[in-house]
């Protein structure tokens, strides 16, 4: 019990650090703008994985590490923030976000030194990569897991469903797909653009062990990852989230899908963090 309390505190603290890093990067991006809302909606998911669930160490290329793939690549602010907190990306380098010749562009670019295993940004591709990695790990008798974070809007892409079908066909019980269901996509709500209400049913019917939970509730995420998973199915988590979570001006405001963080809003956000 004591451990649980400590772990949850650690995840929550990690989440605060992620939001701080996200603010720093979004602010330093200036007029080039950043995908703010969709990064904030995955903060607790990414925190739970990087600070608690995933087996990782100081070596980003450690063969025995759990693998992470950010399929919704535009949410890279949260990814870079986490890679910084675990020591793979130097804090100073975060300031190069979206700058000329940077390693940290607006979508992840493969960089083994920084712990970025794949390039992403073209939506619908990360789950297929995850399947390739999951199969590889099984072939090598490596008992690590693969975590793929997808967007709900991203589930519009047909290739996601090709991959969803294949993962259960191959019984990839070492593969997790975490669907960030923040109910928005670029130009509007899922409801307006492409209805994703039945995502849980869809993933279940594709043969995945599927749960729906609150993607900002660290206790819920913690509990989920602590229950022994013994079915031979891949695992889908429909994480109900809030786009722009954490700041009054951005929560559930789709203007913050991709927007400029001004000085005054940056300062306001910093105050809201504490």
């Amino acid at each position: 019990m004591e451990n649980k309390k400590k772990d949850i505190q650690k995840i929550k603290k990690f989440s605060i650090e992620l939001r701080k890093n996200i603010l720093e990067m979004a602010y330093s991006a200036g007029a080039s703008s950043s995908h703010f809302g969709g990064a904030l909606s995955i903060v607790e998911i990414v925190s739970t994985l990087f600070s608690y669930k995933m087996r990782i160490n100081k070596d980003p290329n450690w063969d025995q590490r759990d693998r992470f793939i950010l399929s919704k690549g535009h949410a890279c602010l949260a990814y870079y923030a986490a890679l910084c907190e675990v020591g793979y990306i130097p804090k100073e380098e975060l300031k190069t976000f979206e700058k000329d010749d940077s390693n940290l562009l607006g979508h992840p670019v493969i960089n083994k030194k920084l712990g970025i295993d794949f390039s992403n940004g073209s939506l619908g591709m990360g789950l297929s990569l995850g399947i390739g990695v999951s199969i590889s790990l099984k072939k090598k008798n490596n008992n690590n897991n693969v975590f793929v974070v997808l967007g709900d809007g991203e589930c519009n892409e047909g290739s996601i469903w090709e991959a969803a079908m294949a993962a259960s066909n191959f019984k990839l019980d070492n593969l997790y797909a975490i669907i960030d269901k923040n109910n928005f996509q670029q130009t509007g709500s899922n409801q307006d653009i492409m209805n994703t209400d039945s995502l849980k049913d869809k993933w279940s019917s594709f043969g995945w062990d599927t749960v729906s939970l609150n993607g900002h509730d660290v206790d819920e995420l913690y509990e989920y990852f602590n229950v022994a998973q013994d079915s031979k199915k891949p695992r889908a988590i429909i994480a109900n989230t809030i786009k722009g979570k954490g700041f009054s001006f951005s929560e559930n405001n789709n203007d913050w899908h991709h927007a400029v963080l001004t000085k005054s809003l940056y300062e306001k956000a910093l105050k809201e963090l504490i």
């Binding site: 591709m125 079908m165 294949a166």
Partner: protein, 321 residues
């Protein structure tokens, strides 16, 4: 692989697709980390024996080519030497974005094999022909493109591509009873063309099944008093610039012959270098003239699109005047 007269004849009879299957079976013996991925085409790609012999080195992704490329890249990132194969349009165009991002941009090493490219499946219509693959893939940085002349060259290209550090696309043309260009073993090197015939008036650059037709055309031209060099440009990317420079010095006319749209393929690739050569001869690009036609048998379509030896000869003669 044992290269002898008997095997060359067998490979020719079964065609490049089935030969590909035999070659992978052989390569799997020595390459521990080989993985062959298909999209429900194991029989068409001659892989039935392979999948029975090496089930652990084989993966069928069903009819889902976009997923196949992503899975291939994931396997490659974990150290597997991956070959993917399906019919050429589905190996290249349906999953083009996945190829761009995973294989081009991300540089995950994969060897892609497009079977029955060109016009071989003409009686199934142009959904199953592929006259665009070279043009499309050539514009993606980092992918070697090889179009083998016959079944023996298919084996050599596959082995070289699998053992290479770079990603590649092997474009298989022709059908069963694939004419034999190479009657015996020879030296194959990616990026280095092979001069098959020496002549002083003009040089024909060709690739894939068009190599045999070009050799036949050259023989007919000789009977008309025209002397041709014939160069097997098996690697379309990177193009063998030395061979083009050499032809510029020694020929009055250059000709390219390809079973592909005249836009984006071998002719385009040659012309991109040719424009940098001072006082270069003209280039006659023979191929499918940027059009989709009605379908029909392979021979019918080659004739219709000016790719039979006779049509190649008359096209060249017309342009020499």
């Amino acid at each position: 692989m044992i290269i002898n007269d008997r095997n060359i004849k067998t490979w020719s009879a079964i065609g490049s697709r089935a030969t590909f299957g035999i070659a992978t079976l052989e390569l799997a013996k020595e390459i521990d980390n080989l993985m062959v991925l298909t999209c429900d085409v194991s029989t068409s790609a001659g892989l039935d024996r392979y999948k029975k012999t090496y089930p652990e080195k084989y993966l069928d992704l069903g009819i889902a080519e976009q997923n196949m490329i992503g899975v291939a890249a994931g396997l490659s990132s974990e150290g597997y030497n991956v070959v993917t194969t399906t019919f050429a349009p589905f190996q290249t165009i349906i999953c083009c974005e996945q190829i761009k991002v995973n294989i081009g941009y991300m540089k995950q090493k994969v060897c892609m094999v497009g079977i029955a490219s060109g016009l071989a499946l003409g009686n199934l219509g142009f959904t199953h022909c592929c006259i665009e693959d070279v043009g499309i893939l050539r514009s993606i940085p980092g992918i070697t493109i090889i179009s083998p002349a016959d079944s023996l060259e298919t084996i050599k290209a596959l082995e070289s591509a699998i053992k290479s550090k770079n990603s590649s696309y092997i474009r298989l043309t022709g059908s069963s009873n694939n004419p034999i260009v190479y009657k015996e073993d020879y030296n194959f090197e990616i990026g280095k063309s092979v001069k098959l015939r020496e002549g002083k008036d003009l040089t024909i650059f060709c690739a894939g099944a068009m190599v045999y037709n070009s050799l036949q055309a050259a023989q007919k031209l000789k009977e008309n008093g025209i002397s041709c060099s014939v160069v097997n440009m098996h690697t379309i990317k990177p193009i063998d610039k030395n061979a083009i420079n050499d032809a510029c010095r020694n020929s009055k006319l250059l000709v390219s012959v390809e079973e592909h749209n005249i836009i984006g393929g071998l002719g385009s690739s040659i012309s991109e270098h040719l424009v940098t050569v001072k006082d270069s001869p003209n280039l006659l690009i023979i191929g499918i003239n940027d059009t989709y036609s009605k379908g029909g048998s392979y021979n019918f379509l080659k004739e219709k699109h000016g790719l039979s030896p006779g049509k190649i000869v008359s096209d060249i003669i017309k342009n020499l005047k």
